[in-house]
């Protein structure tokens, strides 16, 4: 088991291996992401029953919730990749970490935008300072911080390291932010409006949601792979195997 893990680690560390492997994966991943996405959307938009309170506006859930979940896990993945880079100096990890930041920020933005749009018909306002909304906003800022910092650094290596350090500090803080915000919101003046409590959802509503969540993660994997491959091409451009690709 341990040997196998070690081997996997060394393979993962090799850009060439990653590049060639993903070459084969991409079509399947694309297919899977699109198929699940289509099924989820059709089921969610056409077949799921309307919510008895919110009517059809609840159909926003099929993008809102997957995006929100992904935005949070992507940050953790970014921090983990950053840590791997800091500890083992694995270039691949640095590229993956860097590549996740804009994608995670995009999904965070999607969650915020769809949430805000959803809020208008259900709460009658675009934004409230609810605990979950606030901590999501802070997550977006953390993403922006990582991106801006990497952007600003002159040398590439410094950019990777700085991004990783900040992501790690942020990861320690995410739970703190989340709990403090929740706690603040319950103790302070109670929020006039609340996110719907986790409902015991009708299976016809629930299934499309689960499928959409899967689809979103697949899409995320695809995006990360596509961007990482570009990083590999750029940084390994002087390797023989990349030159071959370039010449063909």
């Amino acid at each position: 088991m341990w040997q196998w893990l070690k081997q996997l680690y060394h393979r993962l560390g090799s850009p060439k291996w990653f590049y060639e492997l993903t070459e084969r994966w991409i079509p399947w991943l694309t297919l899977a992401a699109v198929a699940t996405g289509l099924v989820g959307l059709v089921l969610g938009l056409l077949f799921a029953p309307a919510d008895y309170q919110q009517g059809d506006s609840f159909r926003i859930i099929y993008i809102h919730v997957p995006a929100a979940l992904l935005a949070q896990s992507a940050y953790i993945m970014m921090a983990v990749a950053g840590a791997v880079y800091l500890i083992w100096r694995m270039k691949m990890a640095a590229w993956v970490a860097r590549v996740i930041a804009p994608i995670g920020a995009s999904f965070c933005l999607i969650a915020l935008l769809t949430g805000a749009i959803w809020g208008k018909p259900t709460w009658g306002t675009w934004w409230v300072w609810d605990a979950r909304l606030t901590s999501m906003l802070m997550l977006l800022f953390l993403y922006f911080g990582v991106m801006a910092l990497q952007q600003a650094m002159e040398s590439e290596e410094a950019a990777y390291k700085a991004g990783a350090i900040l992501a790690l500090v942020g990861v320690v803080n995410i739970p703190i932010i989340k709990y403090s915000v929740e706690w603040w919101n319950t103790l302070h003046q109670p929020a006039t409006l609340k996110l719907t409590e986790k409902p015991s959802m009708h299976p016809d509503m629930l299934w499309p949601l689960l499928i959409m969540i899967v689809s979103t993660y697949l899409l995320f994997a695809l995006l990360v792979i596509l961007r990482t491959r570009n990083e590999i091409l750029l940084h390994e451009r002087k390797r023989v195997w990349v030159k071959k690709i370039l010449e063909s």
């Binding site: 906003l137 302070h188 929020a191 006039t192």
Partner: protein, 222 residues
């Protein structure tokens, strides 16, 4: 091509090379506005009442912070010395600098402000007043700020000193602008306040570049 237009072009180029220069004030603006509900009270009705004031305070602080680097970098790398050695009119140069500063700070802030209005539950009637007051008020902030930045350009820890010099000058702008937004929010007329802001802008364009130019010369005898 005169030195002034060359400098404007160079500064815009620098801003384009380093997106942080215009993106950071924007983010700061957003964040300060987000801090207030956390620190005081997230109740929407309450927030709606203070929204105009909070947005303006945030805009003012964001402008202030971005001012610090207005002349500092030019002092440090010798560009300022070359300006002074060039013998060209300092009036035009400082005016150009202030213009560039507004383009990369005040203008984006103005465009961004409706979003903050939404988040802080600003009354619907107040949006026009908010945008108008920012559009007329932020250039005044940039111009006045240029004077402070020029005065503190050669100081190491200038950032905070600059704040001290400039904040009192910003008070009139803040008062009229916030009052414009507030009156708009309760459905009253606010042309008077905007007219005042306009007058301030005219005055600032005419006078501050002289002051800033003179201040820059202070950095000369080192």
């Amino acid at each position: 091509m005169s030195l002034v237009s060359a400098t404007v072009r160079r500064d815009l180029l620098l801003a384009a090379r380093n997106p942080g220069e215009w993106a950071n004030p924007l983010m700061f603006f957003l964040m300060v506005a987000a801090l207030f509900p956390l620190a005081v009270d997230p109740d929407p009705v309450f927030l709606g009442k203070i929204a105009g004031g909070v947005i303006w305070v945030a805009a003012l602080l964001a402008t202030l912070l971005s001012l610090d680097s207005l002349f500092r970098a030019d002092v440090d790398d010798g560009s300022l010395e070359q300006w002074l050695a060039s013998g060209e009119s300092l009036f035009a140069l400082t005016l150009g600098k202030a213009l560039v500063h507004w383009c990369i700070s005040g203008l984006p802030l103005t465009l961004m402000s409706p979003l903050l209005g939404l988040m802080l539950n600003l009354p619907g009637e107040a949006y026009t007043a908010l945008i108008l007051s920012l559009a007329v008020g932020t250039p005044v902030l940039s111009l006045l700020g240029a004077v402070g930045a020029a005065l503190t350009a050669s100081l190491r820890s200038g950032g905070l000193l600059l704040t001290l010099l400039i904040l009192p000058l910003y008070v009139p702008v803040l008062i009229f602008a916030a009052s414009a937004v507030y009156h708009a929010g309760i459905g009253m007329a606010y042309n008077g306040q905007v007219a005042m802001l306009g007058a301030m802008l005219a005055l600032a364009v005419a006078l501050t570049p002289f002051a800033a130019g003179a201040a820059l010369k202070l950095n000369l005898s080192r």
